[in-house]
Amino acid sequence: MRLLAALIALLITFPAWADCPLDLGRGTGIVIFSSHYLIAFRPEPLRIEVGEPFSLLFNVCTKNDKPAELVAIDAQMPEHKHGMNYRPTIVSLGDGRYRVDGMVFHMPGTWELAIDVRAGEESERLSHELVVK
């Protein structure tokens, strides 16, 4: 999770977004983006332990500063082509904020998150790799 620390800086450099604030509560998180979307998220607890359930807190925004929708989330180990043994649930907290519960990375190694987001008609899948040891 050293990555997290490195990305705090990135987060702070974004201006305070009026309609879609990328604020995850503790000023920490991972930011990923495409040409249409900007997503900030952080695990809770902050350190993901192999085999232990965790949650993800999300802010999903469009590049035009509007809240977007988190449609689905999944994760798999690209090396072994298997996914999670658990199906996470998404709870909307309003204004592009979401809480995802029931994630479990049951093996050490690289996990790839697949994050499906949507604004209006346009949906897109963003991905991000996390390494758990």
Binding site: H80, K81, T89, M107
Partner: protein, 377 residues
């Protein structure tokens, strides 16, 4: 080389940073045991005593002849040394060891149980095992003077009139007892602590063969599944053990286990979960049934795993056989379209012996168990 090694005081092998991290993850031991929030008498001394008496109590069974201890024998690492358990009939699976069972989150080879107490109900009711019923258990708790007194001490009131609730309470006392079965520290633990502390002198006390075996264990990624202090991630896998029980019949393992879990009145989503927060039911709520669960069995802990047989159906007799299996496993049996987690390792005879030597250091001698204290002296 061999001569030199035995002639001088042995020096430990060199370990990379990644290897040190991997070794550290298999400890510390013993771990701090969490208290099961779904069981209101978990950790209670009185419930533990009651649980041990019930564990040894043959009157829980229909014919008064079989107790938990018939199959889970203290002197046999809480197993029975058989390939397949024998109840009123031969079962399809091996009796697992109960060491460290309080640290698990899925129970049974197929994970059909989501709590230690619900798993403890199964053998009481199963017609092929103790063939008991709630009425029998409840009657015993109400009518046997010593057990009734033990119940009152553990639960704070006399046994009530609801048979099913008393069956669940008996199982919760059984669980409180089983959660105390923490396996002893082993030669591996002394080595692991020495590695973490950077104490080369203490490291050198761990046999070189075991050190070489540990390197193979790490290199071969055994710890992808045999992860953490118990050497299991608590989940499920298919390592190519045949799952035919008899011609034409299969044990589908995890796939069937998830069906049983969903249908059980005793699962953590039901009314007998004592955890008002609901947090203990998180895995049960989120677990998903996948096609790939067919033929998967729970990854066993490798601590104090006894002298065999091994695997869910006792298919392999000795640790040497287990290592031979991982060395020669047929990759076609393991349908995988990526980097397989299990693949034939093609180990030499020396490497195989080293891996076995390592696996043996995950066990230690256990002092014989004293008789439990009296229920109500």
């Amino acid at each position: 080389m061999a001569l030199a090694a035995s002639a001088v005081a042995q020096t430990p092998l060199q370990w990379s940073e990644d290897e040190v991290r991997a070794i550290a993850r298999h400890g510390p031991w013993p771990p701090t045991a969490p208290r099961d929030p779904s069981n209101r008498v978990a950790g209670s001394a009185n419930a533990i005593v009651l649980g041990e008496h019930l564990f040894n109590e043959p009157r829980l069974s229909a014919d008064g002849a079989m107790s938990c201890a018939t199959c889970h024998v203290a002197g046999r690492d809480w197993g029975d040394g058989r390939a397949k358990a024998v109840g009123r009939a031969e079962l399809d699976r091996r009796t697992p060891s109960l060491w460290n069972v309080g640290l698990a989150h899925w129970f049974g080879w197929d994970g059909a149980g989501d709590s230690l107490w619900s798993q403890s109900i199964r053998p009481i009711l199963d017609p092929r095992e103790m063939a008991g019923d709630a009425g029998r258990v409840a009657g015993l708790l109400r009518e046997d003077k010593a057990l009734a007194c033990g119940y009152e001490r553990a639960f704070g009131h006399k046994p009530g009139g609801d048979d099913e609730k008393l069956l669940v309470d008996a199982a919760k006392a059984l669980a409180a007892f089983q959660a105390t079965l923490i396996s002893p520290r082993t030669p591996f633990d002394a080595f692991r602590d020495a590695v973490v502390a950077g104490d080369r002198e203490a490291m050198a006390r761990y046999p070189l063969a075991a050190q070489r075996g540990l390197k193979i264990f790490i290199d071969a990624k055994c710890s992808a599944c045999h992860f953490g202090p118990r050497l299991t991630n608590g989940e499920f896998g298919d390592v190519g053990i045949p799952f035919f029980t008899r011609p034409g019949e299969v044990d589908s393992g995890r796939l069937d286990g998830l069906g049983k879990l969903a249908n059980s009145t005793f699962n953590l989503l039901g009314k007998y979960n004592d955890d008002a927060s609901g947090a203990s039911a998180l895995r049960t709520r989120h677990v998903q049934r996948l096609h790939s669960n067919f033929g998967e069995f729970r990854v066993p802990s490798l601590r104090q795993s006894g002298s065999g047989p091994f695997m869910h159906n006792g298919h392999l007799a000795t640790l040497e056989d287990v290592v031979k299996h991982y060395s020669e496993v047929n990759p076609e049996r393991l349908h995988s379209d990526a980097i397989p987690l299990v693949r034939p390792l093609a180990l030499s005879a020396d490497q195989s012996a080293d891996l076995v030597a390592f696996l043996r250091t995950l066990s230690a001698d256990v002092p014989s168990r004293p008789a439990p204290p009296l229920l109500c002296p």
